[in-house]
Amino acid sequence: MFDICELHEPGTLEEAKAVLAANPDLKVIAGGTDVLIRLQHGSLAGSGLLSLKNLHGLEEIAMLGDGTISVGAMAPFTTIFRNGLIRERVPILCEAAVSMGGPQVRNVATIGGNICNGAVSADSASTLFALDALLKLETATDERIIPMGDFYAGPGKVNLRPGELLTAILIPREGYEGMGGHYIKYAMRKAMDIATLGVAAVCKVREDRFADLRIGLGVAAPVPIRCFEAEAYAKGKEVTLEVVQEIARLAVKPARARTSWRASKDYREHLIEVLAQRAVAEAVKRGGGCCAD
């Protein structure tokens, strides 16, 4: 049995926000594939849970009037990678979604839960970083929209204020339109494994030059990061193998990789360079460019 003391199951978002406002210590549970495992391992013991499972509407994926793609926080990974709109407009998010866990986990694990856990290895996080995604956070009385970059506070820590719920992930039109993208998850197994490194690259190529490039890295630092120096270097440069190699070298700079039982610091840095080069080259190709030397 799970060591929990109470379970709240509100049926509407308004009710959920009210319950959380009154009981800010409740642990929010979405798909449960992380929270229940942590309970099984003995952490979070004695918690009260606020389950979002009965809320309707928080699973919706839709394009808003201004072209922003809104992904409901309770959308399971299977729903995301099968969704027509995401497949057509943001295929890199499908790649990230299908790389997460195994099929049974993807059927229940939600994108909102994946982000709110604050795991640096979250497969959706580096991709959403590269897409310049925003997060919609709501309390009973207030709401705010913040960039992904402001949300991660440290390993397993996120900037959720008391009483706040993540309700949607917003991908602005500039984040995805006309962009080619590629996500590479590097792990020992192709399923049910945690990433040793995750690299997401999205880019726009115009007249054989980088009009825009964004690179997100997972498991390269205590939190998912962007490679701003590499991105700035790329801007306006001709797409050549040499430039892509230099982008990959610069992508290593913001990393603060560490040695763990999965991989040493040196190995992770090597992976960042090699995989960033592959991810950018493939993103260029998918964006209609070519990076032959």
């Binding site: 049995m1 799970f2 060591d3 929990i4 003391c5 109470e6 379970l7 709240h8 199951e9 449960g32 594939t33 229940l36 495992i37 099984q40 391992h41 389950s51 499972k53 299977t78 299908v98 866990g101 195994g102 099929p103 049974q104 986990v105 059927n107 229940v108 192709k190 399923a191 049910m192």
Partner: protein, 161 residues
């Protein structure tokens, strides 16, 4: 808040109204209260797939699914797969291909394969491997299991024509 909760669910076509403890997993309730012991407890953390059941037709690890969430749901366990005492075509395919050794992983693998067959979609070889990747089998090299799933899918496609 009460630690007990009354839930109504359908398991293998039969409706149940039971009182559960909110701390229980669906796996606990299926095995210990309803005696569906075909659902196997393996790792208890959603990694091995032995506890897989179908919830409204979708494969889920019942060890990391709160029993309270099953209220109003339709659950299928391995006990609900055979019809009138006859093995289902998926089970037949597992037998034909010899895709069984100790049998601990088999209920979950049969259920995931059943979900593929019942989806009506077609699957490439890589997709079949991916759909079964949430199951660990410590007896085999998976080849016979994948052969069995592909046989079941092929036969279902033929039957649909």
């Amino acid at each position: 808040m009460a630690v007990q909760k009354k839930i109504a669910l359908t398991v293998n076509g039969r409706p149940y109204r039971i009182e559960i403890d909110i701390r229980e997993s669906l796996l606990d309730v299926l095995r210990d209260r309803l005696q569906f012991t075909g659902v196997k407890q393996g790792c208890s953390v959603g990694e091995c797939g032995a506890c897989t059941v179908l919830i409204d037709g979708t494969p889920v690890n019942s060890c990391i699914y709160l029993a309270a969430w099953a209220d109003g749901k339709t659950v299928t366990t391995i006990e609900g797969i055979a019809r009138d005492g006859h093995l289902s075509p998926v089970q037949e395919a597992f037998v034909e291909e010899g895709a069984i050794q100790c049998g601990f992983c088999t209920p979950g693998l049969v259920l995931s394969t059943t979900a593929m067959v019942e989806s009506g979609r077609s699957f490439t070889h890589d997709e079949v491997r991916r759909e079964l990747s949430g199951h660990l089998c410590r007896c085999t090299g998976y080849q016979k299991i994948i052969d069995a799933a592909e046989r079941a899918l092929r036969e279902a496609e033929k039957a649909a024509e």
